[in-house]
Structure formats: structure tokens, C-alpha cells
């Protein structure tokens, strides 16, 4: 069974901590960071399948972070989460990630899990749900 590894970046640390734990309870191994620098550094150390990135991060947008991450890990898939619902932001986000992978906060965890499994499914069959509450 193929396990999925997720790297989550959002400057709200408490959000990252809770999301990492909730994904783990659903059989998805995730690490969380609150800065762009930490995300790139971790990516150099470990292999991830999917990055879940906040659009608005300090010093660098999630879209800019994606470009840096792709240079280190070209195989990675991206899902964006945002609290910013403007049309311009929506246009940019959907252009970067595709409409289905641009999610608005607060994110429904089951939807996020479904999107993570869906986006990785092209690399192989999605794993069965394991240990879900």
C-alpha cells in the first residue's frame, strides 16, 4: 500500500499542528511548518508527495513558495488553502493549482483528505482509508 507524505505550510502554527494530527488520524503522514524557509529546508531532507500551502505567507506568497519547491522536488503536487476570497486571488490560485485544488478556509478535513488522495492517485492507486475516526 502506497503511503502519502504531505508537507503543510501555514504561518498559523496552531492550525498546522491540528491539521497534521488530524491527517495522521486519517492515515496520512504529514509534517507542518510555519515559514517558507522551513518548508524548503525540510523538502531538501525528506521526500513528500503533496504540499498543502497557505496562499498568504510572510515574506513570500504560497505561489512563489511553490516555484521554489518545484525546483527541489519537481514530482510534487500542490494544494492551496486560503482565507482570501478575492476574484484575483481565486484566478491566480486556480491557475497555479487547478480549480479542484484551491480550497477556502476553514477547510473541511474530509474534503482536504479527498483532494490529497485524488491528486496523488495519478501516481498510483489511492491508499485505503486507515484508522479514520
Amino acid at each position: 500500500m502506497k503511503s502519502i507524505r504531505v508537507l503543510l505550510a501555514d504561518d498559523e502554527e496552531e492550525l498546522v499542528t491540528a491539521l497534521v494530527e488530524r491527517l495522521a488520524l486519517r492515515g496520512i503522514e504529514a509534517d507542518g511548518v510555519s515559514t517558507c524557509e522551513a518548508a524548503v529546508a525540510l523538502l531538501r531532507e525528506k521526500r513528500y508527495d503533496v504540499a498543502v500551502l497557505d496562499v498568504k505567507l510572510p515574506r513570500m506568497s504560497g505561489f512563489e513558495l511553490k516555484k521554489q519547491m518545484v525546483r527541489v522536488a519537481p514530482h510534487m503536487k500542490f494544494i492551496f488553502i486560503t482565507g482570501h476570497g478575492s476574484y484575483a486571488s481565486f484566478q491566480e490560485g486556480t491557475a497555479e493549482a487547478g480549480r479542484p485544488y484551491y480550497l477556502l478556509k476553514p477547510v473541511d478535513i474530509e474534503l482536504l483528505v479527498a483532494k490529497i488522495r485524488e491528486i496523488t492517485a495519478a501516481d498510483g492507486p489511492p491508499p485505503e482509508k486507515e484508522g479514520a475516526p
Binding site: 504561518d11 498559523e12 496552531e14 492550525l15 491540528a18 491539521l19 494530527e21 488530524r22 488520524l25 498568504k56 505567507l57 510572510p58 515574506r59 506568497s61 482565507g83 482570501h84 476570497g85 478575492s86 478556509k105 476553514p106 477547510v107 478535513i109 484508522g131 475516526p133
Partner: protein, 220 residues
């Protein structure tokens, strides 16, 4: 209404919209944290009920504390939002300058963080009262900050402070790069806003600051 009036009005609305969007973003974030924390409590309870996984009381306490913290944070955001919204109530009003600088710098923190710039307000004790056009003054402070972010020193730290000088108030934004050309300041589109506030702005290269000079009691 002249073309210049219209541009100032539209710029003012744009400023109001930008601050409102920043506030809504902050509210979304606190809601998200509460959503995930409450969701995790639910997950842990379901794991205990359905899978016999022991519930860790310490973790539940932590999650409860997180939710309480976010409610307090939300309360602060809404208080600032309310204060900002009321800035358009009166054409002229006496306001506390430090309190308003702190309010605005908090509201726009997400925008300054995005640029990697830290903004600190040096409080005046007691706060300096100023009779002015509250909304236009906040707009000017934002213009000063936005300009300063484009010309910030390497340390990327700006400080805002006010001091009384006779019958005027000097509102300083420090942390400007030493080599910034004074000729480029102030930008022409600020002219009408400065007139509305009976103010002028200058560059103090020695202090690496830009300074807005405002009347202490603006005449209606």
C-alpha cells in the same frame, strides 16, 4: 467634484477595502484554527468511542486553551474592526494618536508581514490627543507605511511615533534607508489628502525618517 477630489475619494475607498480585506483574512484564520481544534477534539472522542484509543486529558485541555485563545484574538480583531469602521463617523473628531497608530498597525500586520517588515509603535504617555479628520489621518498613516516599506532600511524594521511640537504633532515613521532620495518625497498623489488634513510631510534624512506635520487642533 474635481478629478483630484474623485481620485482621493476612490483612493480612500480602496484603503478602506484593503484594510477590511486584511481584517477578514485574520478572522478566517482564527475561525480555521478553532475549526481544526474543535474537529480534532471530535476526532479524538470518536477514536476513543469507536477504536478504544485512550483519551489524553492533557491534549483536550490544550485544544480547549487554543480555542479560548483564538476567541480572545477574534475579539481583538473585531474591536479594531469596529474602531476602524467608526473612523468615518465624523468629519472632525478628537482622537488618541497612539491608540489609532496601534490599531492601524495591528490591522495591517498581515500586509506588512507579507513584505517581511516589522512595524512597532512607540507609545506616547499620555496619549496625544489630536482634533483631525480621523479616517483621512489613518489613510495618511497607511500611505506613510506603504511608502516606507518600499524604502525600508536593511533591518526591515519601521517604527511609528508621535510627539507634540508646539501647536503641531509630528508623526514620524523611522527606519528609512539612508540613501533614499528626498527629491522623490512626497509622491504627488498625496497632495489632496495632505490638504484635507492641513498637513505636510517631510523627510528627515538624519533620523532616517519621514515625518507628517499635523495641526494639533484642526479647524472645522
Amino acid at each position: 467634484m474635481t478629478q483630484s477630489n474623485k481620485e482621493t475619494t476612490v483612493d480612500g475607498l480602496r484603503f478602506f477595502g484593503r484594510m477590511s480585506a486584511a481584517i477578514s483574512h485574520d478572522l478566517k484564520n482564527t475561525l480555521s484554527i478553532m475549526n481544526e481544534s474543535a474537529g480534532l477534539i471530535e476526532d479524538l472522542a470518536l477514536m476513543a468511542e469507536n477504536k478504544g484509543r485512550p483519551l489524553d486529558p492533557q491534549r483536550i485541555h490544550q485544544l480547549g486553551a487554543t480555542i479560548k485563545r483564538q476567541i480572545q484574538r477574534n475579539d481583538g480583531i473585531v474591536r479594531n474592526m469596529n474602531q476602524f469602521a467608526h473612523s468615518v463617523d465624523h468629519s472632525f473628531k478628537e482622537i488618541g494618536l497612539t491608540a489609532n497608530l496601534q490599531m492601524l498597525s495591528t490591522i495591517c500586520r498581515r500586509l506588512t508581514d507579507a513584505r517581511g517588515v516589522a512595524v512597532a509603535v512607540t507609545p506616547s504617555d499620555p496619549d496625544i490627543g489630536i482634533v483631525t479628520r480621523p479616517f483621512h489621518l489613518l489613510h495618511l498613516v497607511w500611505l506613510l507605511l506603504a511608502w516606507a516599506m518600499d524604502h525600508v532600511d536593511e533591518g526591515k524594521r519601521l517604527s511609528l511615533q508621535a510627539r507634540s511640537v508646539q501647536d503641531h504633532v509630528h508623526l514620524e515613521c523611522r527606519g528609512i534607508a539612508g540613501a533614499t532620495a528626498a527629491a522623490a518625497f512626497p509622491p504627488a498623489p498625496w497632495t489632496e489628502l495632505l490638504e484635507l488634513l492641513a498637513a505636510r510631510v517631510e523627510m528627515d534624512t538624519a533620523q532616517q525618517a519621514i515625518v507628517a506635520v499635523l495641526p494639533r487642533r484642526m479647524a472645522a
